[in-house]
Amino acid sequence: MDYRAKLQQAVNSLIGKRLWGCARATNMVMFQFGEARAITDQLGREKEVGEFALHVQCPWRIAVDDRVIVGSRDINYPADYSEGDEIPESFDWDKDRTRLDRLIDFFLHESTNLRVRDIKAGRAASLCIAVGENLYLDVFPNDSLPSEHWRLLEPGKKVPHFVAARIEP
């Protein structure tokens, strides 16, 4: 089985699952899919996770038809930023709420029917995840380093993670 087929097989498990959560650990975004359930993590903390989590460290975007409604570069702007505004020197996306956070919260809160309809694994570990009727979550690795681009895991289950990284020739 070639690499793209392995990718496709791994992500097919998301089909039919509902996208309901998104949190940010520095500039890695973690999408939650499937039924939400409470677990106790390795440090004894209670938290709510999905059946699947997609941890993305490469560029991504959510588009409705041809319009981007939120994307990874929105992290560079304060939550209340408008085009042309001065970005304060003190703005720190690692600490502060960003435009990305605001838009993704709004998107998840306002959207209905966010079940994954289809997924296509593309070139170089890119993903096109069709959600609902006309939403698309695109994930597109864009660096040549061997480090991880994204990983798919099943939180709370002892199942090996699927990790997408650069393929060595």
Binding site: Q42, L43, E48, P155
Partner: protein, 214 residues
């Protein structure tokens, strides 16, 4: 401030201002120490000097006994703006156009409030401009009351970077981390809003409690 984190007094006749300090090979940081100096190496300040010199620290904010101070830097570590409770000075460094067959000569522009002075190798010429940046930073200073320096945020994979730092810290305690550890770490952080330091702290707490940053 010197590479080992020791620092001279701002009243030192040899190194007590931005230009003389830089000329002597030091890195100028406005800490507002009221003339204090220290000959003792300091790991924290040494790290700060390294960050300034390699361009990863674009500025330092500090709270001294007389108020707030701000120094901002070019990527080479040279001071661009120096703001103290007494006023602001801006600096820019340009490469002068040199006559043919002669090496180019660095030229320094110094801006103080609404005027600036251009220092040629053998003299000075007055000019105007270079006040905007100082005013902007001045507004920022008014809102900051604690010492910190702000790091330039890089558009790299910060979670990968955090994991490497966890590996490094655990290795310093004799523990090697593998892919299984990394999976456990991802399980621990999933679904939570965390910053870079949180990611490192969680990993260290899980695999090598007590491992320090150095």
């Amino acid at each position: 401030m010197w590479d080992d984190g020791s620092y001279d007094s701002e009243f030192d006749p040899q190194t007590g201002n931005v230009l003389s300090c830089q000329k002597a090979g030091g890195t100028w940081v406005e800490l507002g120490q009221n003339g204090n100096w220290s000959a003792s190496p300091n790991g924290s300040l040494s790290g700060l000097v390294t960050g300034i010199q390699n361009g990863s620290v674009p500025g330092v904010l500090s709270q001294g006994p007389n108020g707030t101070y701000l120094t901002t830097y070019a990527s080479t570590g040279q001071v661009i703006t120096d703001v103290t409770p007494n006023g602001a000075t801006t600096y820019s460094y340009v490469q002068a156009q040199a006559p043919r067959s002669q090496p180019s000569v660095p030229r320094l522009l110094i801006g103080r409030t609404a005027t600036c002075v251009t220092l040629e190798p053998c003299g000075a010429v007055e000019g105007t401009g270079a006040v905007g940046a100082a005013l902007i930073f001045g507004a920022t200073v008014a809102t900051v009351v604690t010492y910190r320096y702000f790091a330039k945020k890089r558009d790299t994979k910060q979670a990968n970077d955090a994991w490497r730092e966890i590996q490094r810290r655990c290795a310093s305690k004799g523990k090697q981390l593998n892919d299984d550890h990394r999976e456990q770490w991802h399980e621990a952080i999933t679904g939570q809003g965390l910053d870079y330091n949180d990611l490192i702290q969680i990993g260290v707490e899980m695999f090598c409690p007590g491992a320090a940053s150095d």
